[in-house]
C-alpha cells in the first residue's frame, strides 16, 4: 500500500498489466505521480473510491493526459464514478469501461443492492441488457428496482 492521507492504491501485478485497487477520496490533494511511474497498461479498480469532488475530477483528467497512450481499463465503477463518466466525458478519456455497479432498491423494504454489470451488457446504448427489477431477497415480498433510469445511467456508453 502506498501511503497517502485520503487516496491510496494497491498494485497487483498481472504480468504485462498492472491492476490498481484504488481506495478513498479523490480531491485536490490527490497525487497520481507514483501511478505514472508504473509505465504499463493499467486496470484501474474503482470499487473502493468513496468520494470525488470537482478539483479531484480535474486532477484525474490531468493524470489521464499525463498517461498519454497508456492503455487504461476502468473496472468495478461504483455509481459515484459512473456519475462522473456521464457528466464529464474527459473523466474517462480513452479508457475502456469493463464493468460498473448498478444500484437497486426494494420497493417494499427499501433494501439496497449493488450489482456488478460487465461491459457485454452495455456495449451499445441500443443493446442495454440491464434487469429493471428482481425479487427482493431481504423481505421476500418486494421487488428490487433499478435506482436510476437505465438510459441516463449508461449515458457514457457511446
Amino acid at each position: 500500500m502506498i501511503p497517502s492521507d485520503k487516496f491510496k492504491f494497491e498494485v497487483i501485478d498481472q504480468g504485462s498489466t498492472k491492476k490498481l485497487l484504488l481506495k478513498g477520496v479523490i480531491d485536490e490533494d490527490s497525487t497520481f505521480e507514483s501511478i505514472l511511474k508504473l509505465s504499463s497498461p493499467l486496470v484501474l479498480n474503482f470499487k473502493d473510491i468513496t468520494s470525488i469532488n470537482s478539483c479531484g475530477i480535474r486532477s484525474w483528467v490531468n493524470f489521464l493526459k499525463d498517461l498519454g497512450e497508456t492503455k487504461v481499463v476502468y473496472e468495478e465503477c461504483p455509481p459515484l464514478i459512473v456519475r462522473q463518466l456521464n457528466m464529464v466525458p474527459s473523466f474517462a478519456g480513452t479508457a475502456t469501461i469493463s464493468s460498473v455497479y448498478v444500484s437497486y432498491v426494494c420497493d417494499n423494504c427499501e433494501a439496497e443492492k449493488k450489482i456488478l454489470v460487465d461491459a457485454d451488457k452495455f456495449r451499445t446504448k441500443q443493446s442495454l441488457q440491464i434487469a429493471e427489477s428482481f425479487p427482493c431477497e431481504s423481505c421476500k415480498e418486494g421487488e428490487m428496482e433499478l435506482d436510476s433510469h437505465p438510459k441516463q445511467y449508461f449515458a457514457f456508453v457511446k
Partner: protein, 248 residues
C-alpha cells in the same frame, strides 16, 4: 428541447425571467445563459407548486419559500475551518434523522462538498479582488465570514442550505459556468487555482431544486432539495431560481 415538449411562454412582464415546461438540465442551462433566472422543468406546467411560488414571488418582490424549505426540524451548523468539511459531511450523513437515506449519501456528500468549498474559497476577496483563501491551503474564516449550514430530512428527500457572508456570486458567473459545463467540450474543466469550475454544474445535476439568493456584499444563500428517487422518478423535473436582493 425534447421532441414534443415545449417551454411555456411567460404571461406577464413579471414573468419574463421565468420559464417552465419539460426539458433537460442542458436546455435549462441554455435558458439561464439567455438571462432567464427562473427555470422550472416540471410535468405539471404552470400548475406546479414551485412554479406558483416563484410566480407569486416575482409579482410581489418577496422571496418565495418553496415546499422543500418548510420543515419543522431544521438543523444548523456553523463552519469556520475548511478542514472540517469532511467531518461536517459525515455529521449530516450519520445524523439520527438520516435513517433510510443511505442511497442518497453520494449525492448529499457531493453537494455539501461543492457548496461548502465554494463558501470557503470563492465567497471572500482580498484587497486586490482575488479570492482571499487559496484552494491549495486550509481556510480559517473569521467570525464575520463563518459559513452557516442548515439541513433537514423529509420522508422523500433532504434539504440543504449553505450561507456565506460575502455575497460575491453573480448571475452571469452561474450562467456562464453552467453553459460551459453543459457544452461538455474541451473547456468544461477550468485550469484556475481557485477550482475546476465544475461545482455549480455538479450540484445542479445532483439536486431536484436549486435556489440561489444573493445580496451583493452581504450574503449568498444556496439552498437545494435532493429527492431520494430523483434519478428514477421524473428525472427531468428540476428547478433553478436565482434571486438578486437589494442591500437593506
Amino acid at each position: 428541447m425534447k421532441n414534443g415538449q415545449k417551454a411555456l411562454a411567460p404571461e406577464s412582464a413579471h414573468e419574463e425571467r421565468l420559464i417552465c415546461g419539460l426539458f433537460s438540465r442542458k436546455h435549462g442551462a441554455q435558458f439561464i445563459l439567455s438571462g432567464i433566472a427562473h427555470v422550472h422543468s416540471t410535468h405539471f406546467g404552470k400548475k406546479d407548486s414551485c412554479v406558483q411560488a416563484t410566480k407569486s414571488a416575482l409579482n410581489t418582490d418577496h422571496l418565495p419559500e418553496y415546499v422543500w424549505e418548510k420543515h419543522n426540524k431544521i438543523f444548523t451548523l456553523t463552519l469556520k475551518d475548511s478542514l472540517s468539511r469532511s467531518e461536517v459531511i459525515q455529521k449530516v450523513l450519520n445524523h439520527p434523522e438520516a435513517i433510510g437515506k443511505k442511497r442518497m449519501e453520494e449525492r448529499v456528500s457531493l453537494v455539501l462538498e461543492e457548496l461548502l468549498s465554494n463558501g470557503f474559497y470563492h465567497a471572500y476577496s482580498n484587497r486586490t479582488g482575488k479570492n482571499k483563501y487559496q484552494r491549495t491551503k486550509a481556510a480559517h474564516l473569521t467570525d464575520k465570514e463563518a459559513l452557516s449550514l442548515r439541513f433537514a430530512f423529509t420522508e422523500d428527500g433532504i434539504f440543504i442550505e449553505v450561507t456565506d457572508q460575502g455575497g460575491k456570486l453573480t448571475f452571469d458567473e452561474v450562467a456562464s459556468a453552467l453553459s460551459r459545463c453543459y457544452d461538455r467540450g474541451g473547456k468544461q474543466i477550468e485550469d484556475k487555482e481557485s477550482g475546476a469550475g465544475l461545482g455549480t454544474y455538479l450540484v445542479l445535476e445532483a439536486v431536484s431544486h436549486l435556489k440561489i439568493v444573493v445580496t451583493a456584499g452581504v450574503s449568498t444563500v444556496v439552498s437545494c432539495w435532493i429527492s431520494d428517487r430523483m434519478a428514477s422518478n421524473h428525472a427531468d423535473s428540476f428547478s433553478f431560481n436565482f434571486f438578486q436582493k437589494s442591500k437593506i
